[in-house]
Symmetry: C2
Subunit: 569 residues, 2 copies
Amino acid sequence: MRTSNLLIATLKETPADAEIVSHQLMLRAGLIRRLASGLYTWLPLGLRVLRKTEAIVREEMNRAGAQEVLMPSVQPAELWQESGRWEQYGPELLRIIDRHQRDFCYGPTHEEVITDLVRQEIRSYKQLPINLYQIQTKFRDEIRPRFGLMRAREFLMKDAYSFHLDQASLQDTYDTMYQTYSRIFERIGLNYRAVLADTGSIGGNASHEFHVLASSGEDAIAFSNQSDYAANVELAQTLPPASPRAAASETMQSVDTPQKHTIDELSEFLKLPAERCLKTLLVEGAEKNTVVALVVRGDHDLNEIKAEKHPLVAAPLTFATPEKVREVCGANIGSIGPRGLDIPVIVDFAAAHVADFVCGANEDEKHLIGVNWGRDLPEPETADLRNVQAGDPSPDGNGTLEIARGIEVGHIFQLGEKYSNKLNAVVLTETGQSQVMTMGCYGIGVSRVVAAAIEQNHDERGIVWPQSIAPFEVVLIPVNAHKSQRVRDKAEQVYQQLLEAGVDVLIDDRGLRPGVAFADWDLIGVPHRLILGERGLDNGVIEYKHRASGDGAEFSFDSLLDEIKQRLA
Amino acid sequence: MRTSNLLIATLKETPADAEIVSHQLMLRAGLIRRLASGLYTWLPLGLRVLRKTEAIVREEMNRAGAQEVLMPSVQPAELWQESGRWEQYGPELLRIIDRHQRDFCYGPTHEEVITDLVRQEIRSYKQLPINLYQIQTKFRDEIRPRFGLMRAREFLMKDAYSFHLDQASLQDTYDTMYQTYSRIFERIGLNYRAVLADTGSIGGNASHEFHVLASSGEDAIAFSNQSDYAANVELAQTLPPASPRAAASETMQSVDTPQKHTIDELSEFLKLPAERCLKTLLVEGAEKNTVVALVVRGDHDLNEIKAEKHPLVAAPLTFATPEKVREVCGANIGSIGPRGLDIPVIVDFAAAHVADFVCGANEDEKHLIGVNWGRDLPEPETADLRNVQAGDPSPDGNGTLEIARGIEVGHIFQLGEKYSNKLNAVVLTETGQSQVMTMGCYGIGVSRVVAAAIEQNHDERGIVWPQSIAPFEVVLIPVNAHKSQRVRDKAEQVYQQLLEAGVDVLIDDRGLRPGVAFADWDLIGVPHRLILGERGLDNGVIEYKHRASGDGAEFSFDSLLDEIKQRLA
């Protein structure tokens, strides 16, 4: 390809409305343009990236035995009514009325359509399992589209749906999809984690999200430094400390703590670290009109999802009012503690491991210090109530946890019979009985992967593409070619040589000043750059620069092809 | 690929609602399934055909220097208001209201969006010409979707738009697109014609439709048997006869023709061929309150488009009322003729070439016979007023015309400044002046090509795919493999051998009875079939059958690969 036949539309200025770096760089590098809120046109350079990403996804899905189909983007309301989602789905579902006043929607997902297809085409257990996927444009009418393609309204998605006779078969395909997704993100060259996700009512290890790690990510991910374990911070388990609790060494006493209601204030006032100060929180109990005390270390955060899953605690988690706190504890919220309460007290593993701790005295403006479980109050009922922190042991027993931010780009999910039941998608079993199929679904936000790749791979000069999805692998820049026939000729010769060797090369024949051209290619982020000028020709060499490392080199023309191939391999 | 990993969904019965053969065969062969009126899901086999078609289109567009982009399918109303089409476009435009009550549509075409993009990105004549295309899902809310993918609501389209400084540059790209479309349909292997199309207000040879010839086509196409000339029958020109008119040999006389008002009745009554009987039609004139007589041969059809383009004739063409006819001619419509009228008379070239003709006498129930131009009435003003017929000379002077039916699958069009003017899409010229760009647009209905290919290529047993877009090139059928380890082993070996040679081969491992499997593959239309059974193994041969010709052969296993490669080449 030649730039003279390619719309290069780089921008010097960062567009004002682009809040995150991938959005800024995709606009500046001329990969996309905004048509309307949440709607983007892919320009030729950007589309090359999208297509390469799509091709990797397709190859790996095919390799995994999934079959590609293409369903309409416009779906009839009747199917959504059958599943119950026509009413349940909020305003993110773009509803459409056709010329005959019939209801449709622009599909944000295709569970209903695929289940309808499969219930008509698959009749026998012999046809199972089957895994059907498509790579298709979807629409989600976000209330506030932002972050460019990270939360666009129209986007490209790979969505797959598998159908099975039983859970074992579903698990098998699920595992294959887990491995397939891992291969996909590895091939693209992204630092990612497969993260345990909340499965709501389904339970089990039945859902994983695939996150690209990037500091701008919306989700905090905890992952082991020694194993594959990864989970959303809110879902990662904490383990009870392995060592026994230290012995009591202080005597409990009550101290005045005037106006010291927060852990920070208390810790500073008492000259004691926050981890010695226990927080007590009163929440509504699972049984009506009961309250429960939850205790965590002062340096830990209560994990509300974990707390509300405790059988004694009401879901959704609801904190007791100040009036209720005073009624139960006889003190204000900043002065309460677990000692002497006549209600259930649930103590986080880590809080139960502290000796000589501080807690509220259940008396206004007073705290107790030197308190010890099993001596000053009973040994507590313990539970996992807090968010994990960096340095915590990994729940799988291998290594310690690190915490990073992630961008969700994929999701695999064991749906079970949720849709097949509603739509009565059944097959005949070996014994001739009718049985509802069990389902899995597997999504990758293809356009989102492109944005996430940039969030993870950029520097102050622009994008640093992973080679697998770069718009071009190599850019060849003849310097001052308009002044030198010999540079033009040699550049053309090198270009043809690389093309013939199958290298994905672009020649920059725009005749820009070298500095301007170099800045463009830094911004666009082509991995390998070759610079050909008079001086190099005099010395029989071509200059090379690696975008990611900034490393330079000079190649003789004889060795050029080998050198490039070696770097592309 | 193995059938065990491919959804084969052939149907024995022809679905009742499928009216044309491509629709029937796409359903029966399991290529598509209906989701709702005009909405179809592509099953795995069908999608392979669609993707191969798409790939050929993409390759040829890229080869022609066009750049691929991808615009949103959902478009804001504002741009359509700017072009004026928000009001002009009928109910085929699927209008959408988003959650913020803003107006959008599901794009049936992208002139507005591309012009908006180009007016922002292209500032200088140096960036011209540019030709941008996409392959994308479109929606047209047909009032009565029918014929499967031939007139679906959601369909796959390749649409390209070129921008130019002047007409010469537009013509250049237009010519390139003409050649590119020809290459595309040749590569696919279709019998097609590039047909001159009506350009409405723009004029010139500025529009061609590409038609796949098939007896079920909606349009009648006239084309030369010796040149590239082709045009819609309604647009094809007729030439004045090259030979002089025969001399008058009869005397004019008036005859009673009671109740003989049609040409057929008259011709039978007078025992004269229809081409000797001239039809006279009164239509409104271009000037207010005038009427004009049009005369064509009895065996010819008036071409209303040609007639209304005549400067003396009102457009749209409007026939005079019976009252008006009587007032002007003094007779009923079935008895009028060109002789003695006090209004302009325009005579078709062919009608002006008839000697000793019959025409109405302008007296009820009477005709004149033995009438001759230049003797009984003046030499007429002539024009091209009729539809061409098979056997007419080709208007380009090469050969004679044949007439066939065609399915429009592509359209190229010189738009001129229609959209760029409305949207003020300007560039700076070499002299620094602002100039509106001139545009071309070029569409191919990709999913329609698939249906048209079937309309052209099928027999009573099913589809006969052109090899280029067949779902697979070769199908390998082991016969009774479940009973024979040796057949299974050899089939697997042949399959691997073909795969390794890069052959697009499918192995049918379903274990069906041979007749059932053969019927499936006849229906699906894979071009080359290999059949491997015990008997063949005994003789060291594999059986071959060519779907299109039905020709069979036996190959030794040594020669198999060469034989197949030769047939695929």
